[in-house]
Subunit: 246 residues, 2 copies
């Protein structure tokens, strides 16, 4: 383990919000330790909890993911991406341009909350099975109203980008492009029928996802054991009954 490594703290069994950070680090080939997935001194879940629960830590994060970069501890997914963006070559240099990428990252984060709550509309602390009726109601309206709204938004942003290349902003990929790829991948897993129908009308979103998947760092990562499979403990869960498609 090099001293220069980033240390990512996130739940070890799911992609979750940590995946947005993993994708950025992997795309750039940056050295990092996925702390809670590793074992040894200062590693593992215990290390994550120790840090989160240290009352004397002035800049304690509320929840994972968080990143340790030297003496900095940085929480909140989009905030971590804001910190990493220029360091990893995944953000423009100008301040206004970076705010725009960050705005897109935050809009993706809002989308993620709504996707999560399709299966957990009452409480994250309850099982899906204990809120399945409410989940069915929320999912139906999500697929009818919110999924089109968000996808149309990103399709429109892609169409309005004056630069070529198929990215959300400018002529190079940013953290927002990786994030949109991840959300599309998750939606395809969670709602295969509804998402197949939705993508027909948003070709730019599909094309963006395809070209993110082909980036060397991402392709290698997706083929590696470091990429945790989607599963029913994460944000994107497949419950067939929720996948409405008329």
């Amino acid at each position: 383990m090099k001293n220069a490594s980033y240390r990512l703290y996130y739940w070890p069994m799911i992609q979750g919000r940590g995946e947005f950070i993993r994708l950025a680090l992997e795309d750039a080939g940056a050295p990092y330790v996925d702390v809670a997935r590793a074992s040894g001194a200062g590693l593992g879940m215990d290390a994550m909890f120790r840090l989160m629960r240290d009352p004397g830590l002035a800049r304690r994060p509320l929840a994972p993911p968080f990143l340790v970069d030297g003496t900095r501890i940085i929480g909140q997914t989009a905030n971590i991406l804001l910190h990493l963006g220029t360091r990893l070559g995944l953000a423009p240099r100008g301040l206004d341009d970076r705010l725009w990428v960050h705005q897109l990252d935050l809009t993706i984060a809002d989308f993620v909350v709504e996707i999560h709550d399709t299966h957990h509309p009452i409480a994250s602390s309850l099982y899906y099975e204990d809120q399945a009726d409410a989940a069915a109601k929320r999912s139906k309206i999500f697929l009818e109203e919110r999924l089109p709204k968000f996808l149309d938004y990103f399709e429109g942003i892609l169409a309005a980008n004056p630069a070529r290349g198929g990215w959300l902003t400018g002529a190079r990929a940013s953290t927002a492009d990786l994030g949109l790829f991840q959300v599309v991948a998750g939606l395809r897993y969670a709602f295969p029928n509804a998402m197949a129908a939705a993508e027909v009308e948003r070709p730019r979103v599909s094309a963006l996802s395809a070209q993110v998947a082909e980036r060397p760092g991402i392709a290698a990562y997706l083929a590696s054991p470091r990429r945790i499979a989607f599963n029913e403990s994460g944000i994107f869960r497949r419950y067939n009954v929720l996948d409405w498609a008329d």
Copy 2:
């Protein structure tokens, strides 16, 4: 109307997410136009919709609030605060310190989503009355689990700040302090019984709220007609049946 004014675009009838921006501008005494609440050429709700729905606008925001500052259009509440923070004297100068304030702003934004969803757990597009049963369930668990978690977090951050003054970070107020004030005010409105009980155990959060309310710009604003009253169209709504307190 001065050319130098900020232009804030937000729903005119509620505090909502726009209030976090209004508080920052008011605290600083910054000139701004609350566009959708004003009338005249280029003002009013129509002006807001025109901008949001312009497909040719490369940096179109998905939703209000958004801020126009010169040629910039900036969306996402916390992102707007990130842009305004140093300009309004409500953020530290160092980049790492600003990321920390931003992390707190984002954690407040997460809290706000959970508070909103207590009365709208199924869909924002449905009436409360059509999701009242699910709202009762979500609210109960929110008050038992989530309210304490968030309040304890901020209480702990206040306790761990090595600087005096009672602010979340450093020795001066930031956008995060104004944000926490707003959330406390909203929670007192929405859940008077539960919040009164919760505040007994979090004296630092209460004290912070009191000292934000006494800042000259904020005190003048709260006493003015510009401060929209809490109401049952906003994020913080009072439905007595949701205000569990054992």
